[in-house]
């Protein structure tokens, strides 16, 4: 399993993806019951079994379901006997993908299973997410996720970067695009609705729901053997900004810009970008940070506005971008994931398919 380290960089690709149908509630399913079909589907696509996988890494958060160490229960769905090499990140699964990518680059494994899941339905996700804020100055005020995004949206409006009709257009375009996505929770046109926290209306906010996603990574020739057109990871990087919102310029995302530079996103144009922008206003910030113009297809899946399973939605972006490369719909795609309030942490991956005959 372990490749000899020669010093030459290895090429690692996403070779298979699967995700659940994202739904408002999944009361009849435990977390592992929701996740297991997705794990089975992604393994089936490659013909691999758990015993063939060199490294397993997952992302989730106990705060969503209110259960301690819930990822250990989810491991029941992987089949961890004989013992496997396994790790977990308490954040979006896109960061689990990063860990797995590094593991494969070092030659420690040739294949990896990466998965993420979130059940937001048991609690109130707007309140739950306040617990990730600065516990001294901010969390005692319980500012919910929509409120913080709304502060960012108003800053963008004041700076002249967008206005409410433009935000409504982002919402409409995303949900129209989701019409072609069988997994989406909110496909198709819907009214912008009332203000949730002004200037953000219902339509500017992501749906709350439950869902899971899994991808398989493979290095070099293993990738070619497992997938007719692997989505090669040309670069990946993640960056974080100061946690205090009042220190940051909320109209910019320097962490996204830097991650994209380090991931090689600006070396050549991309044709597709899957952006993890749960709020319409965040797409405005990300497009600017990533220098995306109208030649780039943004969120053909519908993005997080159409389905936002917390802790999985970022990895879903990678899966959607890779899926387009697998199908030949894209040659070079960018996938972005975020975590924390107002785009605090950002990850960018650049994926490419080889030239087709």
């Amino acid at each position: 399993m372990t490749g000899e380290f020669t010093g030459a960089p290895r090429n690692v690709a996403v070779v298979a993806c699967a995700q659940s149908d994202h739904r408002r509630r999944t009361d009849e399913l435990s977390e592992v019951e929701m996740l297991m079909p997705v794990l089975h589907e992604v393994l089936e696509r490659t013909g691999l079994t758990t015993a063939d996988i060199g490294f397993t890494c997952s992302g989730s958060s106990d705060y969503l379901a209110g259960r301690a160490f819930s990822f250990t229960m989810a491991l029941d769905g992987v089949g961890a006997w004989p013992p496997i090499s396994e790790s977990h990140v308490e954040t979006d699964g896109a960061w689990a993908l990063y860990e797995a990518w590094v593991k494969l680059l070092t030659g420690d494994a040739d294949t990896a299973l990466v998965y993420a899941y979130g059940k937001s339905s048991p609690g109130s996700v707007r309140d739950v997410l306040t617990r990730q804020l600065d516990p001294y100055y901010v969390a005692p005020l319980w500012p919910d996720s929509v409120a913080l995004a709304a502060l960012q949206a108003q800053a963008l409006i004041d700076a002249g970067h967008t206005d409410e009709p433009a935000l409504a257009a982002v919402a409409a375009r995303s949900r129209d695009a989701a019409d072609g996505n069988a997994h989406a929770q909110l496909p198709g046109a819907r009214p912008q609705g009332e203000y949730v926290v002004r200037p953000l209306r219902t339509g500017d906010c992501p749906p709350i729901g439950d869902g899971a996603v899994a991808v398989v990574l493979a290095a070099g020739d293993r990738a070619r053997a497992l997938c007719p057109r692997p989505a090669w990871i040309r670069g990946m990087d993640h960056r974080v900004e100061a946690h205090s919102l009042g220190v940051r310029d909320l109209t910019e995302s320097p962490s996204t810009r830097l991650a994209a530079e380090r991931a090689g996103a600006f070396a050549r144009p991309v044709d597709t970008a899957e952006l993890h922008a749960p709020f319409t206003s965040q797409e405005v910030v990300l497009r600017k940070a990533l220098r995306l113009d109208d030649s780039v297809l943004v969120n053909p899946s519908g993005g997080a506005l159409a389905a936002n399973p917390v802790m999985a939605a970022g990895l879903v972006r990678v899966a959607e971008a890779a899926g387009r490369i697998h199908r030949g719909a894209s040659d070079r795609a960018l996938a972005h994931a975020t975590s924390g309030p107002c785009l605090q942490q950002n990850l960018v991956a650049v994926l490419e398919g080889e030239a087709r005959a």
Binding site: V32, G66, P122, R131, Y136, P140, A147, P199, A242, L250
Partner: protein, 316 residues
């Protein structure tokens, strides 16, 4: 298949946090109606203050006093306040740059309506009547008439009358509706009928109890329900000598792994009806159901001969 069960679940915890020198001075200052910031080496004043420069990571301790008036740098109108938020009537969330500061503080603004709020609005602190040394000592901000001032910050030693605030207790409460899922719903429904059920793995044929819907060895879904017990065998045990808070059971008592007949995984339970020092591996036991409960209160000896070690050694 019974309907999916659900029950309310509250997770509540008082997080006790200690403060460093800068946060301590800031929160002690709020108690005394004084707002402190910290100056970076480059000369910027950060409010609220932090102990390390967010740009250079340098340790910073240079406290300064800023004004209790400031300017809104961005805002968001909250028509439906949620539990725990600073005001229970509609209000604006605001980032406020206090006069003398270069960064903004997040808080609530008490205003008549969204039309009364704009970026650039002048505001001042409304102090809480009772202050304890917490960010909530600022009850909220309110609009004020005073125009922008060229506030000169003054150095501050960080000392105030009374003991310094060195920690905060931040109570947190989250409400959930717990739904145990398909497999555990079946298990709990059977317990209500004083039966114990597991699920058999279609691949390795092991029977798991309580069932969680997956075989942790094979990683496949389990679905075939199998009734196990009611009798079982103690596979291993320990003697508990420390009395748990709010538990009426007298110590010492025995806590054991019990392999119910037909199960391939031992579950835990308390052993009663026998002196603690006579419990042994291989002891045959049966459940004693609590009066109105939905689960066995404990297990007691059946009086059968002990099980042979070979019959349970794989379940240890």
């Amino acid at each position: 298949m019974p309907d999916a069960l659900s029950a309310p679940m509250v997770v509540e915890f008082p997080f006790t946090r200690s403060l460093g020198p800068v946060q301590s001075a800031f929160l002690t200052g709020l108690r005394a109606r004084t707002v402190l910031g910290v100056r970076t080496t480059a000369g910027r004043v950060l409010v609220p203050p932090v102990e390390y420069d967010p740009e250079t990571a340098e340790e910073i301790r240079d406290l300064v006093e800023v004004a209790a008036t400031g300017t809104v740098t961005t805002w968001a109108w909250n028509p439906a306040p949620r539990r725990g938020q600073p005001l229970d009537t509609p209000f604006a969330w605001v980032l406020v740059r206090l006069d003398g500061a270069d960064t903004a503080l997040l808080h609530a603004l008490d205003a008549a309506g969204p039309d009364a709020v704009r970026t650039g609005l002048r505001v001042r602190v409304r102090w809480a009547a009772e202050r304890t040394g917490a960010i909530t000592d600022i009850a909220c901000f309110e609009p004020c008439e005073e125009g922008p001032t060229d506030h000169q910050v003054t150095a501050h030693g960080g000392a105030f009358a009374g003991d310094a605030v060195t920690g905060i207790v931040a109570p947190a409460r989250l409400d959930y509706t717990y739904t145990p899922g398909r497999a555990q719903t079946g298990y709990l429904a059977a317990l209500a009928e004083r039966r114990t059920v597991g699920e058999r793995c279609p691949r390795c044929s092991k029977v798991y109890v309580p069932p969680r819907g997956a075989c942790p060895t094979c990683g496949v879904a389990t679905a075939e329900q199998v009734e196990v017990g009611p009798r079982g065998t103690v596979t291993t045990f320990c003697v508990v000598n420390i009395k748990a808070k709010n538990l009426e059971i007298e110590v010492p008592y025995v806590y054991a792994h019990i392999a119910l007949d037909g199960a391939d995984l031992a579950l835990h339970g308390r052993i009663g009806g026998i002196p603690y020092d006579q419990v042994r591996m291989g002891l045959r036991v049966e459940p004693v159901w609590s009066e109105d409960g939905r689960h066995p209160d404990h297990y007691r000896p059946t009086g059968e001969p002990d099980a042979d070690y070979d019959t349970y050694k794989e379940l240890l």
